[in-house]
């Protein structure tokens, strides 16, 4: 009889636990990271009687967490990958907006400038058209600067984002370490896993994975170790390491991520992948820095092309053309540990040879070597690095000052600051050099069929450029210069003297004369303006290439993000199908437990009736 009572009681207690757990599930139906729990029931040890084993009721073996380690791992990894692609794509879109807008884009602005130069070519004596050209030159500089400043802001924004990410990672790591301790204590105390704490820790691990790629290793005591990058321990049992942001080894404006360490912080930026941090670092190195450099390269190229041609021309007042644009030079950042007193002087010698890459110049074993900073590809150096014979490579000239120590190295960013230093140098519309400094004339007495096809300035610095020079043909294929010498004329080939080159068409006759001299009063000459406009076509191609590259990268990032988003959703759904709470299911188990509970209560009531019957039987 007592057995029935205790059996019924065991049922009552077990179903009460069941109802407890069901209501816990229902209560947490909306709790993020909550895993459905189920009560594991187990029959009690039966009692042996001569006629067999009689059951003695039910026990609650444990409360099980519905969870799948593999699915959880998938969720963590896909979350890491998704966050990386998402943060990359979001920033790529804003760069793309900057470069591809058809109304405010660089292409349109450069084309406006070219059009204004063409306007000067149409009416070289018109001050109005010259003024328009100067205004458009300023617009071009303004547009480049606006773009560069937006890129710089993005770079600053990434620094702030990295700070926030590091704060979030440190906070997650500490919380995980603290949960590790509680979980280990909980397990050792009861031998049962503290399910809700495990859920909390999983939630934190997922959050951590969205910030940075992690490798989670479960330990036998119920704790987890968390590693980031290439195995740097972030959480070990109950202790968490601390990350921090710091400037890179060249003290540039870009922040890196480092492990704090009493012996000195260790930079791990290049090791980190995955998560928002991975996306930020990848975006900065693969898109933002190249875009800044490319923009600088465009500025340097435009300035060089325009300046070279403009300086080869003559202004309305007859003076030689000056440089039209100023542009910022190369930035040199010495490594923080370099020997005192050393420095580099880096100048751009040919902007069209610039690659848009950054370089590292390093002194090892008594010699300097140059490599691209992103890929490490070594770049051949010509020259000796002295003022008389500077190192030359990729359009740069490098002069080393001071005495270097082994291991000294410098980061050279040839075009990163080009746009900041850009300005329009010419303010007087009369100073626009639309004309050529020289002009050619055929002799009045010429009897041959030769005519002037073109006259080009090949070296505007030649002091004798504008000196009057007469070419006289002494035969169809020979000529004298100013009456002296005898030179061979190849039909169609240019005749180059004094920094200009004259091309004739047709066949000259003996005695024919062609003279070249100063283009004084040549205010109606537009040949230099035309040359400037034509030369700028190359820069337009560069802008198109930059916009195209940015567009393609953005497009790739977008499709990568969309694909990863679908994968992430699927892995979340897969885990959810194991761990999520379904209210209908809970209602059913509630009914089930309730009915069982009522039945168990009936058992107790029947025990009482049985007991009463027994008492009644023995009373009278």
């Amino acid at each position: 009889m007592a057995d029935i009572l205790s059996t019924g009681l065991s049922g009552l207690l077990a179903f009460q636990r069941g109802l407890d757990t069901t209501s816990h599930n229902i209560a947490n139906v909306s709790t993020p990271g909550y895993s459905r729990q189920t009560v594991e029931l187990d029959t009690r040890q039966p009692e042996a009687y001569g006629n067999g084993w009689i059951g003695r009721g039910v026990d609650v073996a444990s409360v099980r967490r519905n969870y799948n380690e593999v699915l959880a791992l998938q969720v963590r990894n896909s979350s890491s990958a998704f966050s990386q692609l998402d943060s990359f794509a979001a920033r790529a879109e804003s760069i793309s907006n900057l470069f591809s807008d058809s109304n405010t884009g660089l292409s349109a602005t450069l084309q406006n400038f070219i059009n204004a130069v063409q306007g000067v070519a149409n009416a070289p004596t018109s001050l109005a058209s010259r003024q328009v050209m100067l205004s458009q030159a300023q617009s071009l500089v303004d547009r480049l600067k606006a773009n560069a400043s937006q890129l710089d802001q993005m770079s600053t924004g990434i620094n702030a984002d990295l700070d926030n990410e590091v704060t979030a990672i440190n906070s997650d790591a500490m919380a995980i370490a603290s949960l590790n301790t509680q979980i280990a204590a909980g397990i050792s105390q009861t031998g049962q896993p503290p399910n809700d704490l495990l859920d909390k820790r999983d939630t934190l691990l997922n959050d951590l994975a969205s910030h940075v790629g992690v490798n989670v290793v479960a330990q036998t005591d119920g704790t987890v170790s968390v590693f980031i990058g290439t195995g740097e321990p972030l959480v070990l049992s109950g202790t968490a390491a601390k990350l921090t942001t710091q400037r890179d080894g060249y003290n540039s404006n870009e922040l890196g991520i480092a492990f704090t360490n009493p012996a000195g912080n260790v930079d791990v930026s290049s090791n980190l992948t995955g998560g928002t941090i991975g996306g930020l670092l990848q975006f900065r190195s693969q898109m933002l820095d190249p875009a800044i450099n490319q923009l600088g390269k465009i500025a340097a190229t435009v300035a060089q092309i325009v300046n070279a041609q403009h300086q080869a021309g003559t202004a309305l007042n007859g003076s030689p053309g000056q440089a039209l644009f100023a542009v910022g030079g190369a930035t040199v950042l010495p490594a923080t540990g370099n020997a005192v007193g050393g420095s580099l002087t880096v100048t751009t010698t040919n902007a069209t040879q610039l690659t848009g890459k950054d370089y590292v110049l390093e002194y090892t074993a008594g010699a300097w070597s140059l490599r691209q900073s992103d890929t490490g590809t070594s770049v051949a150096l010509a020259g000796a690095g002295t003022l008389a014979s500077p190192f030359t490579a990729d359009g740069l000239a490098i002069v080393v000052n001071g005495t270097p120590a082994a291991g000294d190295h410098y980061l050279i960013r040839p075009t990163s600051a080009a746009v900041q230093g850009m300005s329009v140098l010419v303010t007087d519309p009369n100073a626009i050099a639309a004309a050529s400094p020289v002009r050619a004339a055929a002799g009045l007495a010429n009897s041959g069929g030769a005519a002037i096809a073109s006259l080009q300035v090949t070296n505007s610095a030649n002091p004798a450029l504008q000196t009057a020079t007469t070419i006289q043909f002494t035969g169809a294929t020979t000529y004298t210069i100013n009456g002296s010498g005898s030179y061979t004329y190849t039909p169609g080939a240019p005749i180059a003297v004094n920094g200009w080159s004259l091309t004739l068409s047709g066949t000259p006759a003996t005695g024919d004369q062609f003279s070249v001299g100063s283009n004084a009063n040549g205010s109606g000459d537009n040949s230099n303006a035309l040359a400037i406009a034509n030369a700028l076509g190359a820069a337009n191609g560069q802008i198109g290439a930059l916009a195209g590259q940015v567009g393609v990268q953005t497009s790739q990032a977008q499709s990568g993000r969309d694909a990863q988003s679908a994968i992430h959703d699927e892995s979340v759904a897969a885990l959810d199908s194991v761990s999520g709470v379904n209210l209908d299911e809970e209602a059913a188990s509630m009914l089930q437990y309730q009915q069982a509970y009522q039945a168990a209560a009936q058992v107790i009531r029947i025990t009482q009736t049985m007991f009463q019957s027994l008492l009644d039987a023995t009373r009278s």
Partner: protein
């Protein structure tokens, strides 16, 4: 697969949000008429759009350049037509001065006065300006008056031989003018190949008549002298005094040597000579000066009359050369104007093509967009309705 209640709700809400986003995008496309509203919508298309927009601007500029060239060339064409008309009048005056044997000195002086007037018109034409105030025929020195009389009274060219080129397509430039040197100065004289001129001291009354080139290949350019050894015999020697041809002279008959031929008319005196030289270059003003001065000089003797007749004859062929030259230049200007029209046509074709490509890239196809919108509306409505119904289902409703 079992599905958790929160996942069901989250998925349903996420789906509806997605549907709303798509719908809003479609609505935005319909409202703006553009498929690509921000570069992020389609970065690759956005880059192409940008390039098309740039090309459009460039094409507009080429159009403006072509217009500028057309304006200048039209002005030049007009000037050349006017100059040709002036030359035609000069030709008529020259012919009338040559034809009438009865003209008195006074008559000739009146013709000379008319020539002077026309010469001034010619000078005015040569000094014409364009709408920017630049001289049309000054070359690069477009702000310097190209033609002016110097202290000795002859017209000098102060311009240069520069010809301004304008970019009228990405690969083509066009001269928007011709220099005054080319138009008014650099004109072949004589018949374009050679000239025959009487020596100043000739005593006879031989007049140089028509000249012709029979065989240009046989012509050896050089200076020759025809000398009458007797009134009926002549010798032609070259610059080194070597005899090239000899013959018997009959008045009015043709004399030919080295592939060229000319007529002499009248009676020579022994030792009269004529210079035969390759045609050089002469400017239109010095020719008119010479004509005017020849006509204004009184003529008394037969010798003077013969010299005048030779001068007038020579001037006539010179005038014809000039008219030819002006007409050729005019034709070159006309050709350039034609090319401009052709280029305009090609450019508008390209513009249209570009506009079509641009539209294909960035414009929305309304039929597709509206059909998309309808589908998306139906999908969203269905999602909302089904979610509202399904989310009401709960087993708890039946637990009493």
């Amino acid at each position: 697969m079992r599905i958790s209640t929160s996942a069901f709700n989250a998925a349903a809400i996420s789906d509806m949000e997605q549907a709303q986003t798509t719908l809003s995008k479609t609505q935005n496309q319909l409202a703006t008429g553009k498929r690509v509203n921000s570069p992020a919508d389609d970065p690759v298309a956005a880059v192409k759009i940008q390039e098309y927009e740039r090309a459009k601007q460039e094409s507009t500029q080429f159009g403006q350049n072509a217009d500028a060239a057309r304006n200048r060339l039209s002005l030049e064409a007009q000037a050349l037509t006017d100059a040709t008309n002036v030359m035609q009048q000069i030709r008529e005056l020259t012919v009338s001065a040559a034809n009438s044997a009865t003209l008195t000195d006074v008559d000739r002086q009146s013709i000379a006065a008319q020539v002077d007037g026309l010469r001034q018109s010619m000078l005015d034409i040569a000094n014409r300006k364009d709408s920017n105030g630049e001289y049309l025929f000054a070359g690069f020195s477009s702000q310097t008056q190209p033609f002016a009389r110097n202290s000795s009274g002859s017209v000098q060219y102060a311009g240069d031989q520069g010809v301004r080129q304008l970019q009228i397509s990405s690969s083509q430039t066009m001269a928007d003018s011709d220099s005054g040197f080319g138009v008014f100065m650099n004109i072949q004289n004589g018949n374009g190949i050679f000239t025959v001129q009487p020596a100043p001291g000739n005593a006879g009354d031989v007049v140089v008549g028509t000249t012709a080139v029979l065989n240009q290949a046989a012509w050896v350019p050089g200076n020759y002298i025809l000398k009458f050894s007797t009134p009926s015999n002549y010798t032609i020697v070259d610059a080194s005094n070597a005899v090239v041809a000899t013959g018997t002279y009959t008045a009015g008959s043709a004399i030919s040597f080295n592939g060229v031929q000319f007529n002499l008319n009248g009676t020579p005196v022994a030792n009269d000579s004529f210079a035969i030289a390759p045609a050089g270059k002469q400017d239109v003003f010095s020719m008119l000066d010479a004509l005017s001065s020849a006509l204004s000089t009184p003529v008394t003797t037969a010798t003077q009359r013969a010299a005048l007749a030779s001068t007038i004859g020579m001037t006539l062929s010179q005038v014809d050369q000039t008219i030819d030259h002006l007409t050729t230049t005019s034709a070159s200007v006309g050709t350039r104007l034609n090319v401009l029209d052709t280029i305009d046509g090609a450019r508008s074709d390209a513009d249209l093509q570009r506009a079509t490509s641009l539209s294909r890239l960035q414009d929305v196809d309304y039929a597709t967009a509206i059909s998309n919108m309808n589908q998306q509306l139906v999908a969203l409505q269905a999602a909302q309705a089904s979610y509202a119904r399904i989310s009401q289902l709960s087993l708890f409703d039946y637990v009493s």
